[in-house]
């Protein structure tokens, strides 16, 4: 039996980082206008350093101000969503748990839909209306779900939380349909957005995502050992001295904040948080000290490739990224689920 180390080794980080970087350059150079790799690298490098772009490169603005910020956002959203998924699956000891099963994603999108439908904005700060509303509703959903669960069941058991999450999601989607029915003029905008899209993302979006990922990601990384204990069993976690309720609250709040930010920028992009941790676990094993960092890279790679597919498959027509992730994700999920089930037998 081969031995697995607890933590990630430097060269493992390097391999994951290289793969991510390679995918990144690939996704930036390919699209409606293809650029050679070398030119793409020059543009990325000069944009990051704020240098002027050499004259021999034609129409660099497509890369510098459209594709580059978009791919950065895609990578950050992918990393965030799969990190959240991994944390939820550990915490709730349920491989089917995810921001979407918990009801946080749908809560966040309801907030954003309200902001779009009723034109809620914060003067002076672009896209703040949707971001704030999405985060607010993600939090609110969490409070509702947790307080309902707490009323039913003192120990906040995972089954109760997931069941209430599913019921809550259904409720939210019906409210959303209601709002969409009454704001006919914005249907196209809202539907496209609920299907998930990162087209038109800006550097400001990327900065916000990065900040959220750094803050929330650190909290989740610091909870790796507790997540291991939860993944083995909540009761066992309590027995070995984990402050079960506190850890659960911290992780749930952090995850919902991060999902709130992602949803407000990219809409609901399903299956990323469900599928990526599954695939990564096959390489790293279930120990969160290895799983969480690997999920960051894996999530970024997965979503960047999905975004590439969304842009290229029916070019010049562009698919919403959520449609692509759901298509790939659902198929992969069935495969993984089937494989793990038959392995158990």
């Amino acid at each position: 039996m081969k031995q697995r180390r607890e933590n990630f080794r430097a060269f493992e980080y390097l391999i994951f980082a290289l793969a991510t970087l390679l995918t990144f350059v690939l996704c930036v150079s390919l699209g409606s206008v293809n650029k050679p790799f070398t030119e793409t690298i020059v543009i990325i490098w000069n944009t990051i350093l704020g240098l002027p772009i050499p004259d021999y490169i034609s129409s660099p603005s497509i890369i510098a101000s459209v594709r580059l910020p978009r791919v950065i956002c895609v990578a950050l959203v992918g990393a965030s969503l799969s990190l959240c998924g991994a944390a939820m699956q550990g915490l709730l000891k349920n491989p089917l748990a995810d921001g979407s099963t918990l009801g946080v994603s749908s809560g966040a999108s309801l907030g954003a839909v309200i902001a779009i439908a009723f034109g809620i904005t914060i003067p002076g700060i672009p896209f703040a209306g949707t971001v704030v509303m999405a985060m607010l509703f993600a939090f609110l959903s969490l409070v509702i779900i947790l307080s309902l669960a707490y009323k039913l069941d003192y120990s906040l058991s995972t089954n109760t939380i997931i069941l209430i999450g599913v019921i809550y999601s259904m409720f939210v989607s019906s409210v959303m349909s209601l709002i969409i029915t009454f704001s006919a003029d914005k249907v196209a905008h809202i539907t496209f957005w609920t299907m998930g899209s990162l087209a038109g993302s800006s550097y400001k979006n990327a900065l916000l995502l990065l900040a959220a990922l750094v803050v929330c990601g650190s909290v989740i990384f610091c909870s790796a050992r507790e997540l291991n204990a939860f993944a083995i069993g909540e009761e066992n976690a309590r027995h070995i001295g984990v402050n079960v309720k506190r850890v659960k609250l911290i992780v749930l709040i952090t995850v919902s904040a991060l999902i709130g930010v992602c949803v407000s920028i990219g809409g609901t992009i399903g299956f990323v948080g469900l599928v990526v941790p599954h695939m990564v676990r096959m390489i790293t094993g279930p120990n969160h000290k290895r799983l969480l960092p690997a999920c960051l890279f894996g999530g970024a790679i997965f979503l960047m490739l999905c975004d590439l597919a969304a842009r290229m498959l029916l070019s010049p027509l562009e698919l919403p990224i959520g449609v692509v992730t759901s298509l790939i994700g659902a198929l992969l999920f069935v495969y993984i689920f089937y494989k793990t089930r038959s392995a158990k037998r």
Partner: protein, 254 residues
């Protein structure tokens, strides 16, 4: 030396009283067997001691109320072995056992203890799991899995071991292994154990003291000899326990 004391512990869910003013005490090197028919409240009592259910009354360890202990402080004193486990992910045996040391470095910045690895290896050796250290827990048999969690609680190095029917689903071989291991562990300084046991013969063979419950109330408590009197057992189980045991054992004679 008095290690633990529980006074008038009551557990209710709404109108329903599961445990009604049950008291117990535990001295050094004692093994207290909590016995009684189904629904007597045995598991609820050990759940209350490990803070798994809210209760009224007081439980103290060396004179200090356990409710005032932080979770990791409690875990350094009290270790719990449940009756069954289901691990959904393929953690290795070593990873599960190593988590037993959590209580000694619970914070992000708290240093790992120098003897962590030594204690983990010792627990693995004691439970005969050294060869399985890197194996996934999903591939283990019921007995191996239970020994994994026993190793975890031994690595945790508590003073009081709480066992909720630790050998419920296990074969005779494993029953003997686990009970012998705990009996050996108990000889250490400042240690004691409480276990919920269904099998009265096991309770009688290994226990030093017993607490007999029926429908949430104490029927008898004291040494094994005191509690295992025909009157007490007959009353709690509503049958002639001694006659039944003899007839069962009688089948083995000849």
């Amino acid at each position: 030396m008095r290690l633990m004391e529980g006074r008038e512990i009551t557990v209710s869910f709404g109108e329903l009283t599961i445990l009604d003013r049950v008291s117990f005490s535990l001295d050094e090197n004692q093994w207290l067997m909590v016995i009684g028919p189904n629904g007597a409240g045995k598991s609820t009592l050990v759940n209350a001691i490990s803070k798994g259910v809210p209760y009224t009354g007081a439980i103290s360890y060396l004179g200090r109320d356990v409710n005032q202990c932080k979770p990791y402080e409690l875990a350094r004193r009290i270790g719990v072995l449940s009756q069954s486990h289901f691990v959904g992910y393929s953690f290795t045996v070593g990873e599960v056992v190593r988590l037993g040391r959590y209580a000694y470095s619970p914070g992000i910045f708290s240093k790992k203890q120098g003897d962590d690895e030594e204690r983990v290896q010792k627990a693995l050796t004691l439970t005969g799991l050294t060869a399985l250290e890197h194996q996934s827990v999903m591939t283990l048999s019921g007995g191996e899995l239970q020994r994994t969690f026993l190793a975890q609680v031994l690595a945790q190095d508590p003073k009081i071991l709480i066992l909720d029917e630790p050998t419920n689903h296990l074969d005779l071989v494993y029953q003997k292994q686990i009970f012998d291991l705990i009996a050996e562990w108990l000889k250490g300084e400042g240690r004691a154990a409480i276990s919920v046991v269904h099998d009265l013969s096991l309770a009688k063979a290994y226990g030093t003291h017993a607490l007999l419950l029926d429908r949430g109330k104490t029927v008898a408590s004291g040494t094994i000899a005191e509690v295992f009197s025909p009157e007490h057992l007959d009353r709690a189980y509503s049958m002639d326990v001694y006659a039944w045991m003899r007839s069962k054992l009688g089948q083995w004679e000849n």
